[in-house]
Subunit: 268 residues, 2 copies
């Protein structure tokens, strides 16, 4: 199997995103290896050994997606047996020409601590403290409040919104007790402009719940269908925007919520 390397003097998150975006276009399976914090020549020489060994073992030249600030380190990597792709290569010069300002490379530029950083940690803390309806008293501070049946993806979505975008996201489960004559509680009504619903296909919900409480009424297909039908009816009745999470990743759900709810992000 061919190996893909993602290498950088920082976290290598940018190299990974860059490489994945390209490789995902090809129906080829790779062995993936990330080498972050390659910020000294000695580390670069060890990385080259690893690249060359992967080549010797598979007979196929590894692909290397990299971003480096120090040209001396880049030169070492480029001399390996792998095929190098540096996405800065083609874009720094044209952007520099357009802006009329010189680039000032520095390490850890993309994923270091910026002034917006505390926003994200505050948002994560907010989300944890207002998860799963544990309290409703801080909803005044919320940027958004996700509601939905148990196990529709509210918590991971809230955490992603907090970590990626610095959004204070609370969530509130609509539980079985509320199901008959379903209506919004007073606390939710007070903040109805912040509400956003999640729903999911009943079959998918059933399989998620079954993995957690096998054989329970909670995990039965009848219960899942009933809850989903009642909750979707509530969303429509109350004109609450909502999304189906069945075929969407946390990243996709979060990006859609940002757009639909017109949320202002605290990180760029």
């Amino acid at each position: 199997m061919r190996t893909a390397f993602y290498i950088s003097d920082g976290t290598a998150l940018t190299s990974e995103t860059f490489g994945h975006a390209i490789l995902s276009l090809f129906p080829v399976t790779f062995e993936h290896r990330t080498l972050p914090f390659i910020d000294e020549q000695e580390k670069a020489l060890r990385a080259v050994e690893e690249i060359n060994l992967a080549f010797a073992e598979s007979g196929e030249r590894p692909l290397i997606f990299h971003t480096f600030v120090d040209p001396a380190i880049k030169r070492i990597i480029v001399k390996s047996e792998g095929v190098s792709y540096d996405f800065l290569d083609h874009y720094v010069a044209p952007v520099q020409a357009e802006l009329g300002v010189s680039a000032q490379p520095k390490t850890n530029r993309t994923h270091g601590i910026s002034p917006e950083y505390n926003f994200r940690i505050d948002a994560v803390n907010y989300t944890l403290e207002n998860d799963d309806g544990v309290t409703t008293k801080n909803y005044g501070e919320a940027d958004i409040i996700l509601i939905g049946a148990s196990r529709t993806g509210k918590t991971p979505t809230c955490l992603y919104l907090a970590l990626q975008y610095g959004i204070k996201a609370a969530n509130y489960p609509i539980t079985e007790d509320d199901m008959e004559h379903l209506q919004l509680s007073y606390d939710l009504k007070m903040h109805r402009h912040k509400l956003f619903g999640l729903t999911i296909d009943a079959e998918r919900l059933q399989s998620i719940r079954e993995a957690r409480r096998a054989g329970s009424r909670y995990a039965s297909i009848e219960q899942c269908q009933f809850e989903i039908a009642e909750i979707e009816a509530l969303y429509r009745r109350e004109a609450i925007p909502y999304l189906n999470s069945t075929y969407a990743s946390v990243e996709e759900i979060a990006a859609k919520i940002m757009t639909i709810a017109k949320l202002r992000r605290h990180r760029y």
Copy 2:
């Protein structure tokens, strides 16, 4: 102020990473706007209106970082008044030549649901259920167990490890009661090969704690210095690998832990 647009037919996370990595090289302040899910010609036309309006208002051509699968949509965006950068442009052809396989573009390729997706959600659930030392009975399942004083960044780091890499990360606070003659509890000793310590500068810890419990002994500089000194001594005595989180973002801490602890990630 000049505007930077990040546009895609998917989440636009790739366009954002691409654009940020380039723009962070320049000492220029931008207004950032992300337009995800531009997957129909009509939406593309509205995006062009927004780009042209930004140009009319600022007099500076907006920079547009985009990735599209559908060439018809890309053609619409490229005809706007902005300056377009498509990072796939320069890399798909050379990678295709190297692999000897044709690219098969599809939407939501980078951030959609893949077979590894459930790993990440399972990891998030694991992390939440094993946060803050609430239980130690599931440590057999952990990929890593972060330890450290209260407010050193354990929880956000664990959540990032789970969401980004699919790592099951538990965390356990070393609290004040344990401080004298500090030693590892039985449960931690049993899993000592999974332990990873976080530390932080006492001044930074003091300011974080002060924001939460102003004027408390917990937030005093003496208490913070004492805890950090005792805990770092414990790490050294027990040969537990550890990191200082003071000047590092969650992304940097997580990437360093992945490398130092040689963790096998469940997502690429």
